[in-house]
């Protein structure tokens, strides 16, 4: 796997770019670069005409796409294009918003996420989520990680699990002597890595990340991005980001969303283009994608 990444990286960095506008973004491609086939063989999420409503307002219209296993999929697009809304419908976090409703078919390993007999608790245990603002619990570092396994009544050696998760989240060395300290004593970047450790402690299959680096400085962002690369070997990651360079750097596939404004001035999010990140950033099919990634709007 590692070798594949390196050879792919070399290939990508040598590919020539024609438009100066997307040179900057495209130049950052390939810092990881795994072999990404055009079609997805191992589907985790299957979306068919997914629409998300808040009451009468249609926030996302007609999204059809597939998300592949052990891939990092980035959702990019301007504000208000429904990318976070769509992400939150994957693990039924939208259920918490009164009036939110999902239409169309959204399947997880073939199971309909919105079937009447599906328990949202079970969905969320398998599909973890990292939020924009690091939302550590007002408890110790140890308890933050141990909380998920405890509420899920997982029979594990808690000390070992906490160490394993913090190590995987590249935080263990920084906090191993302060496990009893309040998580609030950590810096923003450390808190976000703690949230990721907390998330993998319940052994999920998918990690959804909703602008995980939006409140972090560049160094902390780089650490979280490295961590995502590392985690992609075991988890399927879907990340929403405003930062195109980030999408280019970390993701295997990119979905570009935009908002249509209807005659009443209401914005509806829609999927414009979806494909391997390299093609989206170097040879987009849709002029709107091209405009967005070259910085002409958004």
């Amino acid at each position: 796997m590692k070798q594949m990444r390196d050879s792919e990286a070399a290939k990508q960095s040598s590919s020539d770019m024609s438009t100066t506008g997307r040179m900057d973004v495209a130049a950052s491609l390939g810092s990881h670069g795994r072999e990404i086939p055009e079609t997805i063989s191992n589907v985790v999420f299957g979306l068919d005409n997914v629409q998300v409503f808040y009451g009468d307002f249609q926030a996302v219209r007609d999204v059809s796409m597939q998300i592949g296993r052990n891939e990092i999929t980035a959702f990019i697009g301007p504000s208000g294009c429904g990318k976070s809304t769509l992400l939150r419908s994957f693990n039924r976090m939208n259920d918490l918003i009164p009036g939110a409703r999902v239409a169309g078919s959204l399947t997880y390993h073939g199971y309909d996420v919105y079937a009447p007999n599906v328990d949202p608790i079970e969905v969320r245990r398998r599909i973890g989520m990292v939020f924009q603002k690091p939302n550590v619990f007002p408890k110790s570092i140890y308890e933050n990680v141990a909380y998920g396994p405890k509420v899920n009544k997982m029979k594990v050696n808690m000390d070992d699990l906490v160490e394993e998760c913090l190590t995987r989240a590249a935080l263990w060395d920084e906090v191993k002597d302060d496990l009893k300290k309040s998580a609030y004593a950590l810096s923003g970047g450390q808190q976000q890595r703690l949230v990721i450790a907390r998330c993998i402690a319940v052994k999920p299959d998918v990690i959804l990340m909703d602008e995980p680096c939006a409140s972090l400085d560049p160094i902390a962002t780089a650490k979280v991005e490295d961590l995502m690369q590392e985690l992609a070997n075991d988890y399927t990651i879907v990340i929403v980001t405003h930062n195109m360079q980030q999408a280019a750097r970390v993701s295997d596939r990119t979905a570009f969303f935009t908002a249509d404004v209807d005659s009443a001035g209401v914005r509806h999010g829609r999927l414009v283009e979806y494909g391997p990140t390299r093609s989206i950033f170097t040879a987009p099919n849709d002029p709107r994608t091209e405009d967005y990634i070259s910085g002409r709007f958004g």
């Binding site: 693990n91 976090m93 918490l96 009164p98 608790i121 079970e122 969320r124 245990r125 398998r126 973890g128 989520m129 939020f131 603002k133 939302n135 550590v136 619990f137 007002p138 909380y147 998920g148 509420v151 899920n152 609030y184 949230v195 907390r198 998330c199 319940v202």
Partner: protein, 300 residues
């Protein structure tokens, strides 16, 4: 380019920077504001000093060691009133805290804020908090003392005062729950925790400082209440400590009321002394509330 900007001296000001100082209206307004603040502080200070000076001769251990007496004001104390207050407050807390906290948790965490039921409940709780305490006394007399046949007992007083402060407990608990950021709840739910686990293990522990402050302040309102207890028939002369929930009782405000009614000067002094004790108790409770608030203040 930046270097040239930094080295170019700014032109000398055309006039000096002298002004005319604070305009008169500013000064005047400042004084009016200060005077308004001072009125409250001065009156409170005068009251406390007057009562303390007056009650000073009787601020002795006899005040809490001896029982009240009609004939011997020189040796009379207020022990039955102090123990009565403790008993009544215990039952007030037992009534108001569980019911108040549980309803607040329901309304804030489980109820649907937009439902008609909850809107009606919301308005009623707000209004209940503003109902004069004497009305609660009538309610206690008619329903708890008479209809439930609990009579003029500690438990009647505790239930009545509990109902009196219930809206305050509910409102302050709801506010402290609302102060817990939504993303804590979402973080917990996203890990596969149930709503019950989220409320019990995350939201409520995070809200405890706020709840404690609110409920102490609510209880400190109840401790000074005389009006509802007068209606409940706590006026009788009691010179023994309550022995249980169904015992007769008197409380500190009632004892103060009884003593001030008495024309003899010695009883006036006793009343002043007991007022000081009640004030100390109130200030202590408020201090504890402030201490809890400051010690546990969180920035999210």
């Amino acid at each position: 380019m930046t270097a040239t900007i930094a080295t170019t001296p700014s032109p000398a000001p055309e006039s000096t920077l002298e002004g005319h100082g604070q305009p008169l209206i500013d000064k005047t307004f400042r004084w009016i504001l200060f005077a308004a603040t001072a009125v409250g502080i001065v009156f409170l200070a005068v009251l406390i000093v007057y009562v303390t000076l007056k009650g000073l001769p009787r601020l002795t251990p006899a005040l809490w060691q001896n029982m009240p007496s009609i004939r011997n004001p020189d040796t009379a104390g207020a022990q039955s009133a102090i123990t009565g207050t403790i008993w009544v407050m215990a039952f007030t807390a037992l009534t108001a805290l569980p019911v108040g906290i549980l309803s607040a948790v329901y309304l804030e965490e489980f109820g649907n804020a937009k439902s008609r039921f909850q809107r009606v409940v919301d308005i009623n709780i707000q209004n209940l908090a503003a109902v004069p305490s004497v009305v609660f006394g009538i309610l206690g007399l008619a329903i708890i003392a008479r209809a439930f046949q609990l009579g003029q007992t500690v438990i009647t007083a505790g239930l009545t005062l509990g109902l009196l402060v219930l809206p305050v407990v509910i409102i302050s608990t709801r506010e402290s729950l609302r102060a817990v950021p939504q993303n804590i709840r979402h973080g917990s739910l996203a890990l596969g925790a149930t709503q019950w686990q989220t409320t019990w293990k995350q939201t409520m522990p995070a809200a405890i400082p706020g709840m404690a402050t609110g409920t102490i302040l609510a209880l400190s309102r109840a401790i000074g209440e005389a009006a509802p207890l007068l209606l409940l028939g706590a006026v009788s002369f009691i010179s023994f400590n309550p022995t249980g929930p169904f015992s007769a009782y008197t409380t500190m405000p009632i004892q103060i009321f009884n003593w001030t009614k008495n024309p003899r000067e010695e009883f006036q002094i006793l009343a002043a002394a007991l007022i000081v004790l009640l004030l100390v108790l109130l200030l202590a409770m408020n201090a504890v509330a402030i201490l809890i608030r400051n010690r546990t203040q969180r920035r999210w």
